[in-house]
Symmetry: C2
Subunit: 433 residues, 2 copies
């Protein structure tokens, strides 16, 4: 497949600063006016309707097979097809949507039956989530949270050997734009001798990279690190909403449960590994003196090219800011370079015990904070456990999220000589308990 | 509905000591000779084929609706119908299968097209598991495990307030009879400075009660404790296979992950709440001086009648015992009376933050050990962390499970004046890594 990273599209809004230029072509599931959700591809300000495209006969061969699988109400079957079908569809879409496409006039003639205006469509969860696993590979986050509990020894001894993860709740993964109802639960207030019950007072966001699993592995057979990347269908933004007061009281000895299971939000567009290929980099988060990964987690190519260079952003929009017409305020600027473990290492680790991964499984990376004060991916870190309120341009302060607050995650890839691509948004507004 | 607990069936093998007398009537999914898996009801040594029964026109009204929903390859749709439909089906089945049934001759005339010999059938997972949650409500287990790590303070401060649980892996829940491949993974051997990789050396079983969720709750709406029981579709035995050496190294700070996700086994028959009704009892595991449950976990009727009196058994059959023709050796006899929290409390807690439960979700109770040495539900407890080998009649000893070992869980309910019912078996044999 030819990569046309700087090529222009005849869809004018795809050229310039769009999150979705010709080089991106992410897949998602959309509907319009309450009709049946179906698969589409983002291009500029439009969504290419894959069902309409299939019916118009613009695909053939493996691209047609992939487009059909992606044209229904969830992308699981498309994910299951794997990399070769996905690349065939990408190649065909690039040819169709390029400025010099031979099909340009015909496709333009189809108007909105082919290209739906994105702002008139509703997005849905791109796949039915089988299992959701949340990792903890953001080393600065692990360190920052560890410092709050164990100032002398923030990183536990297993951290640089084990890509720490835990099982999350699949039934409460939502697409961006869904509201987040503040959870009720038990907390043990400081100094109290008995727990209280009520709405969480320490509701927080977590900035994470989401990973959609493509082809699975047979039960009992692990995925070798060298093949792990081929089991990834794509990427998104993920907000692992967390009730810190519930978490502090419940998490010993078996980990977070109700403090996380009320909601997890993901951005709707599945950014493909092909679109991210130009933004691969060497493993940046390992330091001099860190242990060598065990052999099942070590692959030379993964070390040299398996990490990702994606700029991540968290914005906060309060009710007051919304009322005053103020824009959302950026409260963190971070990067996927803060991942201590690569996505391939996460996949290899998860399956090394024979656990079967399945198409549509979702991974969260864990919170991706940087090392500086303006790069922290949760309010727990920004406010040092609620001690240092965050000051906002509206004159308000925040320790944790208040009802009406909206968190917006964004991501963008930039590299000289490459078309910059974006992830779209992962938005969620907090509603009262 | 009339309860005919001591009534006899015209299916002779259902009378006497069968796990599946007329008073039980559990549902499951079976196939024969590789044909399409479908729903059935256990009666004595037979499985009543629900599809055949529906086609024969023996049901009507709500019972027919329930039988149809339960006649397909998974019971999720049947679970979703809730208690009223389930009770209607139970009433109809009791009438059909009772010794004095008006339909007896006609049904007997259908032979194996209606009643399949159980020993010629294969059982399948009864439902597609959406999310699997493992609790920790066995107080003696929590205490015993706590003692191994914190001799002075075995139970953590949250234990008697919070029904502790964590998310498990849904994709690796298997039906009884599936083999369990010993998992590979990282461990930190005692005295070592770097972790090792290889097959787990401390593979263990855990004796648990499984709970199948029926009707779910809408997202954001919790299930009140008084209504929680009506969201339970049924019960099974569950073996939460555990790799203790992987667990010890990985579980801080986010809980068990790969040490559990390689396999979870469940018994195939879904024992209904109606069949267990005579074996309800008052909450037995709370002690004098224990705190009162918080209001969202407290219901008078649940305290008085919400616990279960089910006898639980663990048997071990080694390769050598199998070769010598020796029977499996009982290594534990315990009870569901060792649950500190009731199933209704688990349901109310799980949903109190607005988390949506769905038909086919599975809960594990956590290991149900008793307080005596012969009632311990895991080898970790029996051998005190591998220090005191278990001696077997074959002359062998075990600290943890060896390849070829088979663990068999059983359960039976007995009460004066009631027909005794059983759960069938939950079996799994360990295979080499």
């Amino acid at each position: 497949m030819t990569v046309h990273n700087e090529q222009r599209s005849w869809v004018e809004s795809a050229n310039g600063h769009s999150d979705f230029p010709l080089a991106n072509l992410p897949l998602g599931v959309f509907s319009r006016d309450g009709d049946q959700p179906r698969g589409g591809v983002a291009i500029g300000d439009y969504i290419l309707d894959l069902r309409a495209a299939c019916e118009a006969g613009v695909f053939d061969g493996q691209a047609l097979e992939a487009a059909k699988a992606a044209s229904v109400s969830s992308l699981n079957a498309f994910f299951a097809l794997g990399a070769s079908a996905r690349k065939a569809l990408r190649g065909a879409l690039m040819d169709l949507l390029a400025e010099d496409s031979a099909q340009r006039e015909r496709l333009q003639g189809m108007g909105e039956s082919l290209l739906q205006p994105m702002n008139r469509c509703q997005m849905h969860l791109p796949a039915k989530v089988g299992d959701y696993t949340d990792f903890y590979v953001g080393i600065h986050h692990a360190n920052n949270v560890g410092l709050l509990f164990r100032p002398d020894n923030p990183l536990l001894p297993n951290y640089k050997y084990v890509p720490i993860g835990y099982h999350g709740r699949a039934s409460t993964v939502d697409v961006s734009g869904s509201t987040v109802k503040r959870p009720n639960g038990q907390t043990m207030p400081p100094g109290a001798t008995e727990p209280s019950f009520g709405p969480s007072k320490r509701l927080d966001h977590e900035l994470e990279l989401g990973i959609w699993i493509g082809q699975g592995n047979a039960r009992g057979e692990s995925i070798p690190i060298g093949e792990a990347s081929s089991h990834v269908a794509g990427f998104c933004l993920l907000n692992d909403w967390s009730a810190r007061d519930l978490q502090a009281w419940e998490y010993q000895p078996l980990g977070p449960f109700l403090s996380k299971s009320f909601a997890t939000s993901v951005s709707p567009w599945v950014i493909t590994p092909e679109a991210l290929e130009p933004f691969r980099c060497a493993q940046p988060a390992r330091a001099e003196g860190d242990p060598q990964p065990l052999p099942y987690l070590f692959d030379q190519q993964d070390q040299q090219q398996g990490a990702l260079d994606i700029e991540l952003e968290v914005l906060l929009l309060t009710e007051t800011m919304r009322d005053k017409g103020q824009p959302a305020q950026r409260i963190a600027l971070s990067s996927t370079k803060n991942m201590y473990w690569t996505v391939a290492q996460m996949v290899a680790h998860h399956s090394v015990n024979g656990c079967s991964l399945q198409p549509g499984d979702l991974f969260g990376s864990g919170t991706l904070s940087g090392s500086s004060a303006d790069s922290l991916g949760s309010l727990l870190e920004i406010t040092q456990g609620g001690k240092l309120p965050l000051e906002l341009p509206s004159g308000e302060t925040r320790t944790f999220l208040q009802d009406g607050d909206e968190i917006i995650l964004k991501a963008r890839c930039r590299r000289d000589g490459q078309a910059s691509i974006g992830f779209g948004e992962c938005r969620g507004r907090v509603m009262p308990a």
